[in-house]
């Protein structure tokens, strides 16, 4: 795709970024190793969830607790935020204008926070309907898997706020740039995990 030889997977900053381009090779590869170990964690929680599908112990099951509409809204929020982070990465790479970069990052942050708010509202609704983690094996497995993803999104949002602070204080120096590149990987990765959640947990549960 790109004319400049790439040093690592993903969007490369390119030679115009000098130090940051060199530094990102190790950082990005290391981050991928972490991301993949995280993927195994999620994969096993998915497996646990599937084995616990029958274990509702007379409590509310997926059909009663999940709503297609809210799952769809959350999916869209996360998908659009993934795209806006992509736009931020491009703004970083081509140094269009710092305002453009910050604007895309802020949009991404708002979408991420919107996702979290909606998810918390969903959990609250499940609680009022008796869907608490201690009710059954099925609900324990659900609350191990889906809120863990939510926690990851929370962490990513905090990291994004920290990076916005770094941009404001230090400007776009090498640590900030490589930080943004790693956060981009995390953000896109969380969207990939969400594909599994909405397909297997929500759509699979409602059908």
């Amino acid at each position: 795709m790109t004319a400049t030889p790439s040093r690592h997977p993903g969007l490369n900053l390119g030679h115009a970024h000098g130090d940051a381009h060199e530094a990102s090779e190790e950082f990005v590869f290391g981050f991928w190793v972490f991301m993949m170990s995280d993927l195994i964690l999620f994969g096993l929680l998915f497996a646990t969830y599937v084995t616990m599908l029958g274990g509702t112990a007379g409590g509310p099951g997926p059909g009663e607790l999940f709503e297609l509409k809210s799952a769809f809204i959350e999916t869209m929020l996360l998908l659009v935020s993934s795209f806006t982070f992509g736009m931020a990465s491009l703004a970083l790479k081509y140094r269009t204008d710092r305002k453009v970069l910050v604007a895309w990052l802020l949009v991404t942050l708002l979408l991420g926070l919107g996702f979290l708010a909606h998810e918390l509202y969903d959990f609250h609704k499940m609680f009022t309907e008796g869907g608490v983690p201690s009710r059954s094996g099925f609900l324990s497995a659900f609350f191990a898997l889906v809120p863990l993803h939510g926690l990851h999104v929370t962490g990513a949002c905090i990291w994004l706020i920290a990076l916005l602070g770094q941009i404001a204080v230090h400007g776009l120096d090498t640590p900030t740039k490589t930080g943004l590149m790693r956060l981009a990987i995390l953000w896109h990765f969380l969207d990939v995990v969400w594909i599994g959640i909405f397909s297997l947990v929500y759509l699979g549960g409602i059908v």
Binding site: M1, P9, I40, V50, F72, L90
Partner: protein, 115 residues
């Protein structure tokens, strides 16, 4: 940050990378809307629907890796592709093994747990 003038090559690269994100977003959108639409508005048989959901999910994961995370089959990025493929291998063994053992156990000991 200084507003940098892009060279012709960079401008080309930029537009091709922008296209990559737009394609990824469009494809992901379609692959999300298909299963949600079928589940919400049609009376498709459950079995067919499960297959459609699974196929769309797998394709969408590939789309995200290809267009958002930029994992390609290019030679200079092979280590990372190998890292991902190795993770998939580990996942297949551990997840497949878990499901195999537990569902076999349910079949023999706890038929009530079977779907």
């Amino acid at each position: 940050m200084s507003h940098r003038q892009l060279s012709e090559q960079e401008a080309q690269e930029k537009s091709s990378e922008l296209r990559t994100y737009l394609w990824g977003f469009g494809l992901a959108l379609v692959l999300t809307l298909i299963p949600f639409g079928l589940a919400a508005y049609t009376q498709t048989a459950a079995r067919t629907l499960y297959i459609v959901i699974a196929v769309c999910a797998v394709i969408q994961v590939v789309v995200h890796f290809r267009f958002f995370l930029h994992i390609t089959l290019a030679r200079n990025k092979r280590e990372d592709l190998q890292l991902i493929l190795f993770t998939v291998l580990i996942l297949t063994i551990m997840v497949g093994g878990t499901l195999w053992i537990l569902f076999n156990l349910y079949y023999r000991m706890m038929p009530a747990m079977l779907p």
